[in-house]
């Protein structure tokens, strides 16, 4: 065998041996330089090919090139292996305890009443009601007179009113928007009025400011059946399942007939005589409603012979309290972070 070929064999053997002991990318790189670098052993041999007799050059060149390819392939394969091992080792040390607290800001939090109000709005919008608004500072006409509550009428005792130094008052209910909407849009009409209302009353279940959502539907031939249908649908949607309801006779000056709607206690369905939610009655008072009084229609410029309608007023605060199991109405308006975040933030 030629010396050149013996040399090649020698290099191959040596290289393969050294490759086996190259344990990291640095030693591998050193190996690559030693054999394939500008001054590497193989490179030098290739360069020395010219010293060979011309008839031996092709065979020697071929053998050298083959060796070069072999070495490259072996180096690459080894490099891949080492990179993987090294990555694995690094990942094993770069451990992050994912149970540590996050960095940056999380979700804030919603207010139960605003959230509930939005849910209620969506339910009624789905039934074809549009949202309308009106002022919170009202005049006596819209808040009382146009709703069939003349001055000094005992019905005014039902709603203790805040008065302002400009002679106006804070609306005691969202009903004044009924007449405003009738005058603005006429019949037929299908609106809901979400908003804040004010009464001079403060204890655990009364806040001087609270929320209401008023509804009004005016059309030809409206029946109590329509009112029951709308409100039953609402109750099923807001509490997540159909609940029994009952309609009790009541009195509001601006509706005739007037009713109150009770729904089956969603907590005990009337089966628990010591239920804290319904106080054992099995019923939850949820809203007042009725057929719009003809006088109110007249104030709204609508002919009560041709059109009639129904209206209701409900308390989203109460609905929210029922939904979220809250007991004190007043904490809703104090902005306690611990309350609104459920204890953590």
């Amino acid at each position: 065998m030629d010396t050149i070929h013996a040399k090649i064999e020698n290099i191959r053997e040596k290289m393969m041996q050294e490759l086996g002991s190259a344990g990291n990318s640095e030693s591998l790189q050193a190996l690559r330089v030693r054999y394939l670098g500008k001054k590497g052993e193989l490179t030098q041999m290739l360069r020395s090919l010219g010293n060979l007799p011309p008839e031996k050059r092709p065979a020697a060149g071929q053998a050298l090139n083959q060796l070069r390819q072999e070495i490259e392939a072996a180096l690459d394969a080894r490099a891949l292996l080492i990179a993987r091992e090294e990555d694995e080792a690094r990942e094993a040390t770069d451990f992050v305890d994912v149970t540590l607290p996050p960095r940056g800001r999380g979700w804030g939090g919603f207010h139960p009443v605003v959230q509930t109000m939005n849910e209620i709005i969506d339910i009624f919008v789905g039934m074809g009601f549009s949202v309308a608004y009106g002022p919170e500072i009202e005049d006596d006409f819209h808040n009382f007179e146009a709703l069939n509550i003349p001055p000094h009428h005992p019905a005014r005792d039902m709603q203790d009113t805040f008065y302002l130094d400009n002679g106006r008052l804070l609306r005691t209910h969202t009903s004044p928007v009924e007449v405003r909407a009738m005058l603005r849009w006429g019949a037929p009409l299908r609106i809901i009025v979400p908003g804040k209302v004010y009464r001079r009353d403060s204890d655990q279940t009364h806040s001087p400011m609270f929320h209401q959502l008023e509804g009004l539907l005016i059309d030809e031939d409206v029946s109590l059946a329509d009112l029951k249908g709308c409100l039953n649908t609402f109750v099923g949607a807001i509490f997540g399942r159909p609940l029994d309801s009952r309609f009790r006779a009541s009195y509001f000056p601006f509706t005739e007939p007037s009713l109150e709607m009770d729904v089956e206690c969603f907590a005990c369905s009337g089966r628990n005589p010591s239920c804290r939610i319904c106080k054992g009655t099995g019923w939850l008072e949820i809203l007042g409603c009725g057929m719009t009084h003809p006088n109110v229609l007249r104030y709204g410029g609508i002919d009560p012979d041709r059109y009639n309608g129904f209206a209701w007023g409900m308390g989203p605060d109460r609905v929210a309290m029922l939904k979220y199991g809250l007991t004190d109405l007043r904490v809703l308006f104090e902005g306690h972070g611990s309350f609104l975040t459920g204890g953590g933030y």
């Binding site: 999380g106 549009s130 001055p151 805040f162 302002l164 979400p194 409206v222 007939p257 009713l259």
Partner: protein, 800 residues
């Protein structure tokens, strides 16, 4: 109103348990709030008669009584000094239970054994029925050994009924009995005939007359008792008044209250001898006139109040309360009884203004039945005849009337009834209405006409009749249907849309949603240093606030947010917290407007304190991080806000921005003045912003950019500008002078200090040049960039 179940059943026999009746009444509109059994704690009490009464052999302050219990006898020791032999008393044997739950037993008082106890009114749970100190003495006709509860009708229950303001007719046993008859199947109405008194001159006394000067009193009747004996009322009356929540005074006053409970017509008793003259004139009060009512209170009257006067001197505030000058006393010898009709609104106004909600004013305000005004005097006459033989009563009654009452007629049509109830059986409807004492006076297939009793002032239009039919039939009989969507779909509207998007954006950025009161402490104006020239200092004040802390309508949302922050800090909150609220503020109106309500979105952020956290720096807010929040909130509506140096009275003078949209100011962004925070005891800083939602209502259609396919070439530029030159204006110059290839610029360094002249700062920008159609060559970019540098120099910037 408190109603005795047994008493009610004397007027209408109800074939149901009180609980069942309460349920039915509640569903038909008389909400029974509670059923009380006042004597349910009592056990084993009987009637006893004192056979013998002796002074205790060793204790002169005690008595020993031998009590007959209808066969068996018991020996009782008592300290009460009001007993005599022969008296009838309540007695509890050992083992029986009195009102406070005490189980009675045997006791020895200095060698005398006392078996069980004789009882006081308080011990049987009815302190109000006592007419003297000591043991309760019972009517003599009771039999010894009788069950006490049965003998005194204490085995009763009280319905607490909430009567709606339209149903004044239900404020009496007779009215409620009629209602029960109408709503409770199988009940029977007991006849209680109301008859008119004999009208004429009282023969037994001299009386000049009655004059009605004010239309507020169109009917006035007076009856007389020339001689009465004042004393306690009979036991039965005292018990019934106590059950009805009315205090027993004396037999005359009690009689007027008792009869009022029966017929609903308030009565008033004058001491006839104390009336200044033998005449009554009803007139309107003069503005500022003074009057002392029988509860000893002085009142200043107003025009419109109704007065009962005698000899020109006021003796009663009509329909509200009598005067001290003519009230019944223990010395009263003769009495005049008034029964009248006063206009509901007149009484209501007076009672509300003076805060005098009395049994009388409550009933007059809701309207009494004019047809019962005079018959009630007959009832009183009969009651007093039975009550005590010692009274001398005059049968003739003086009456003056300036008005007559027609019975209203209302028709009920098939069409309207069907429209509301989806039910058109007029025959059945008529039967229902007749149970309520409405008389059918004509009938066709399509229409029935009814005559309405004068007691039902609440029934005036056809809808009222439909309501009566509906509630008596039961609303459960009306089907339930969803009205068809005939007129298009519902719309949430811009305001709700905007509110929703902004609030979700805020919550996503860590803000906590709160709702605070619309009325604030007026001191906030001062605390926030809002000057008088600022419209926000001119909020509306409540004239009747619950407290001063809630008496001014807010003109900014900031106070509520800061107060919530204070509340949290006071309760020990230490973490960073961001709060926001969406709500209205109330500002003085401009140009003829009454007032202006503006929907606002505001937020505050506080960086927390003294709390060691893992990631120290990442949560610290400053004005510029809040600026990012404001941009994101506006971005949720597709809007890009502008920021310029601003001024707010409560804002840090160097850290306040005016926010604008489309060039129009719409809010502020600031760091609250350190001095204000110190006064509010909030360890600063606090960052705040407030935006008008109205400006965010138009949602901008979002404009998308061009697709970049060829990479940009980057060059930096660093220049020196005066400190007071806003970065935004430098940026604007760069954009304007940068030529068409300038794609983007980013400010990456701001430096002020050594090496830079005083009053200036260095701003360094990274500029990206690009062409949408090709890759730019370096030489091209160099040329453009150089041109920009020249342009900037020409503009006066010093380039570094």
């Amino acid at each position: 109103m408190r109603i005795s179940w047994k008493w009610l059943n004397e007027f209408c026999k109800i074939p149901l348990s009180p609980e069942e009746a309460a349920e039915r009444l509640t569903v038909t509109g008389c909400e029974v709030e509670n059923i009380e059994r006042p004597c349910s704690a009592l056990k084993g009490l009987v009637v006893g008669k004192i056979e013998r009464l002796q002074i205790h052999p060793e204790r002169p302050d005690l008595f020993v009584a031998e009590v007959d219990l209808g066969g068996p006898r018991a020996q009782c020791v008592t300290a009460a000094r009001n007993l005599r032999e022969g008296d009838t008393v309540p007695y509890g044997a050992p083992g029986s239970v009195i009102a406070d739950g005490t189980v009675l037993g045997k006791r020895t008082f200095d060698s005398v054994v006392s078996v069980g106890m004789m009882l006081s009114a308080e011990e049987i749970g009815l302190p109000g029925i006592a007419d003297e100190f000591g043991i309760l003495r019972l009517p003599a006709h009771l039999t010894a050994g009788e069950d006490l509860l049965k003998a005194l009708n204490l085995d009763d229950c009280i319905l607490e009924i909430s009567i709606t303001p339209n149903r004044g007719d239900l404020l009496s046993l007779m009215g409620l009995a009629r209602e029960c008859y109408g709503v409770i199947e199988g009940s029977t109405l007991e006849k209680h005939e109301l008859k008119l008194p004999r009208i004429g001159d009282p023969g037994s006394i001299s009386w000049e007359g009655v004059t009605l000067e004010d239309p507020g009193c169109p009917l006035y009747g007076l009856s007389f008792a020339p001689s009465v004996q004042i004393g306690p009322s009979p036991m039965e009356t005292r018990i019934r008044l106590a059950f009805s929540g009315i205090r027993s005074i004396n037999n005359i006053v009690d009689a007027t209250n008792y009869i009022m409970l029966v017929t609903g017509q308030p009565l008033h008793a004058f001491d006839l001898d104390r009336l200044p003259a033998r005449e009554i004139t009803v007139r309107g009060a003069r503005e500022g006139e003074r009057f002392r009512t029988l509860d000893g209170q002085d009142h200043t009257l107003a025009e419109g109040d109704l007065l009962i006067t005698s000899g020109g001197i006021p003796v009663a505030l009509a329909g509200v309360m009598g005067g001290e000058n003519s009230e019944i006393t223990a010395e009263t010898k003769s009495v005049a009884f008034e029964s009248a009709f006063f206009e509901p609104l007149r009484v209501s106004r007076t009672a509300r203004r003076l805060g005098m909600g009395t049994e009388a004013s409550y009933r007059f305000s809701r309207g009494v039945d004019p047809s019962r005004v005079l018959p009630t005097l007959s009832c009183l006459y009969e009651y007093l005849l039975k009550e005590a033989a010692q009274h001398h009563l005059e049968e003739n009654v003086r009456v003056v009337s300036t008005r007559s009452w027609e019975k209203r007629r209302i028709s009920l049509t098939r069409r309207k009834m069907h429209r509301v109830l989806l039910w058109d059986d007029l025959e059945q409807a008529s039967k229902i209405l007749q149970k309520l004492d409405l008389r059918e006076i004509s009938a066709t297939d399509e229409k029935r006409v009814f005559e309405i009793p004068t007691s039902r002032a609440d029934l005036s239009i056809e809808e009222d009749l439909i309501e009566e039919v509906g509630r008596l039939r039961g609303y459960e009989s009306v089907p339930s249907r969803i009205p068809p969507l005939l007129h298009g779909t519902g719309r949430v509207g811009e305001e709700v849309e905007a509110h929703r998007k902004i609030r979700v954006a805020a919550m996503s950025r860590g803000f906590l949603e709160i709702v605070t009161y619309s009325f604030i402490n007026p001191k906030w104006v001062e605390w926030l240093r809002i000057p008088e020239t600022d419209p926000r200092s001119r909020g509306f004040r409540l004239t009747n606030p619950i407290s001063q802390e809630q008496s001014l309508m807010r003109t900014t949302l900031l106070p509520g947010l800061l107060q919530a922050l204070q509340t949290n800090l006071r309760s020990g909150w230490k973490d960073p917290i961001r709060l926001f609220e969406v709500g209205r503020v109330f500002l003085p109106g401009e140009e003829g407007e009454d007032h202006r309500e503006s929907l606002r979105m505001a937020g505050v952020s506080w960086n927390g304190k003294e709390r060691r956290v893992l990631h120290e720096t990442s949560l610290k807010d400053d004005v510029l991080s809040i600026k990012a929040d404001v941009m994101a909130l506006c971005g949720s509506r597709g809007q890009i806000p502008g920021f310029s140096t601003g001024h707010e009275p409560f804002g840090h003078a160097g850290q306040t921005a005016q926010v604008s949209l489309e060039g129009k100011p719409c809010g502020y962004l600031t760091s609250i003045k350190p001095g204000i925070l110190r006064e509010l005891e909030i360890p600063g800083p606090v960052f705040a912003f407030e935006l008008e939602i109205e400006s965010l209502l138009p949602e901008k259609g979002f404009r998308f950019g061009q697709v970049v396919r060829y990479p940009a070439v980057y060059r930096d530029i660093s220049l020196i500008a005066p400190v007071n030159r806003p970065a935004a204006s430098v940026e604007e110059d760069l954009r304007r002078l940068g030529g068409t290839l300038l794609r983007e610029l980013v400010l990456f360094d701001v430096y002020q200090g050594p090496g830079i002249p005083e009053g200036t700062r260095s701003l360094a920008f990274s500029l990206a040049y690009g062409d949408p159609a090709r890759t730019l060559r370096d030489e091209e970019v160099d040329a453009v960039h150089e041109q920009l540098r020249l342009n900037l120099s020409a503009k006066g910037y010093v380039l570094r």
